[in-house]
């Protein structure tokens, strides 16, 4: 929600006050977005909330999310957010700071990873739709891991358990201490 507003305003491209009609259009669009979000809560998704930090020099953290088996072996990469805009892929220089993910997956991957790589996110809630991510994963007990590492900051990992296939609604949450506010996993039984 909070992300939607600046997006529409910046689309306008100018700093002037939106006209009345535009305003109503905006409200309409926002409510549609709202409905969209409400529906998507019913779907499979991973919600990652990054804390707002009162620090002198803030850099958005690098974040990785992945599914691993009980022994820690990576099964599916879900997301990796890093600085994708730098020249000559220089943003990849700090991927190793996602220490756990780097060992479990990143160091063997060829960047960028299709459907996984993305730009860093600002503080607040981000939602990753888990469409068909786990459809080929054998039945068993797993963990969804989320790791965040911030330049001039710290590093934190969180994990929540997940049994596949999903037979009843899952909503599990883990609270972080410093680099991650929380992660929440919503899963519905496959239709």
């Amino acid at each position: 929600m909070s992300k939607a507003t600046p997006y529409f305003l910046s689309c306008d491209g100018k700093a002037h006050r939106p006209k009345k009609l535009l305003n109503r259009l905006l409200q309409l669009t926002l409510s549609l977005v709202f409905i969209g979000t409400t529906i998507s809560v019913q779907a499979d998704e991973l919600e990652i909330t990054l804390p707002t930090l009162d620090v002198a020099e803030y850099h958005a953290p690098y974040v990785a999310a992945w599914l691993a088996d009980e022994r820690g072996k990576r099964v599916v990469d879900i997301a990796v957010w890093y600085d994708t805009d730098m020249a000559n892929n220089e943003g990849e220089k700090w991927l190793k700071d996602l220490r756990m993910w780097w060992r479990r997956s990143g160091r063997s991957a060829s960047m960028p990873i299709d459907g996984v790589s993305g730009a860093t996110r600002r503080p607040g809630k981000s939602v990753i739709a888990l469409d068909e991510h786990f459809s080929n994963v054998p039945a068993g007990d797993y963990f969804v891991w989320v790791e965040a590492a911030r330049e001039l900051g710290g590093r934190e990992t969180l994990k929540v358990p997940l049994s596949l296939p999903v037979t009843q609604s899952v909503k599990t949450r883990a609270e972080g201490q410093h680099e991650l506010s929380s992660i929440t996993l919503h899963m519905e039984p496959a239709k």
Binding site: N88, N89, E90, E92, K93, W94, L95, K96, R99, M100, W102, R103, G106, R107, S108
Partner: protein, 275 residues
């Protein structure tokens, strides 16, 4: 000044030639061991010092080092500079995989006393000596003549992307380490397994000492000392992440004449990462 230099050179010669000179320890330390991206630079310190990793004695000549890329190509060291107590240089990693930086030397060495009781060492000053040179240079009837085959190896490994093992191969010369656990895949709380070979044979009884960085801030030593089993294997495990210095020493009587003993040392710096 001249005297200091001479002592320095002698110390280096001894440190390089005799693994059993306990006072000075040689180390080749990368700034980091596992990096990401399309390419990356790693900077190295190399020194003969009392401290781990505190340069306080003598700069190891970096030109003695070789670098091998993951695919086995020689790589140049760059920005080399010999400072007072250490040499520094950079290596640019452009290939994905593990690079090896190393020096390996072998020599015949001899110690003896002359008629005046003065000690002599041959071939001296970090040089290597052959059997032919030995018969020319060393008086065969000298007092307390002690002749040894020595081999010294100094190594470290660094990785861009995922670790590879292609350049961790045995040459069959001197004391060597087969990394059962890749040195760039060492983590706290997990076993780190190494196997030692002497001239290609499993080096049973190899004495190993491991010292963690930050030595100067510790009141009591936390060194790990282990002896390799009948297959030359050791298994280490650490709770603390950091840069570790490992020195292995091997000695036996299976030397070729004119040597009576063979002595070898192997030094590795590796990083243990936290998970």
């Amino acid at each position: 000044m001249k005297k200091t230099l001479l002592i320095g050179v002698t110390a280096l010669a001894l440190a390089l030639a005799s693994p059993f000179s306990q006072a000075h320890r040689v180390w080749l330390k990368p700034s980091t061991t596992s990096v990401s991206g399309d390419s990356e630079w790693i900077t190295f310190d190399v020194a003969v010092a009392n401290g781990i990793f505190h340069p306080d004695h003598f700069a190891y000549p970096a030109e003695r080092l070789s670098v091998v890329s993951p695919s086995g190509e020689p790589v140049d060291i760059q920005n080399q500079q010999k400072l007072r107590y250490r040499s520094v240089f950079d290596v640019e990693l452009t290939e994905s995989g593990t690079y090896k930086v190393f020096n390996a030397s072998q020599s015949l060495v001899a110690f003896w006393k002359d008629e005046d009781g003065e000690r002599h060492f041959w071939p001296g000053r970090g040089k290597t000596g052959t059997v032919e040179e030995f018969y020319e240079a060393v008086p065969q009837d000298a007092n307390e003549l002690n002749v040894m085959q020595t081999a010294n190896r100094l190594e470290t490994y660094v990785t861009l992307g995922a670790p590879t093992a292609d350049n961790n191969t045995l040459t069959g010369q001197g004391l060597e380490l087969k990394a059962l656990t890749h040195p760039n895949d060492a983590y706290t709380g997990e076993p780190i397994d190494f196997q030692f070979f002497m001239s290609g044979d499993e080096a049973q009884g190899t004495k190993v000492i491991v010292v963690k960085d930050g030595e100067k801030y510790r009141d009591t030593t936390s060194d790990v000392e282990v002896i390799a089993d009948e297959q030359g294997k050791i298994s280490l495990q650490f709770d603390e992440p950091g840069m570790y210095w490992l020195e292995a020493e091997y000695e036996d009587d299976k030397a070729k004449a004119p040597a009576k003993k063979r002595r070898a040392s192997y030094v590795l710096v590796f990083e243990v990462l936290p998970l």
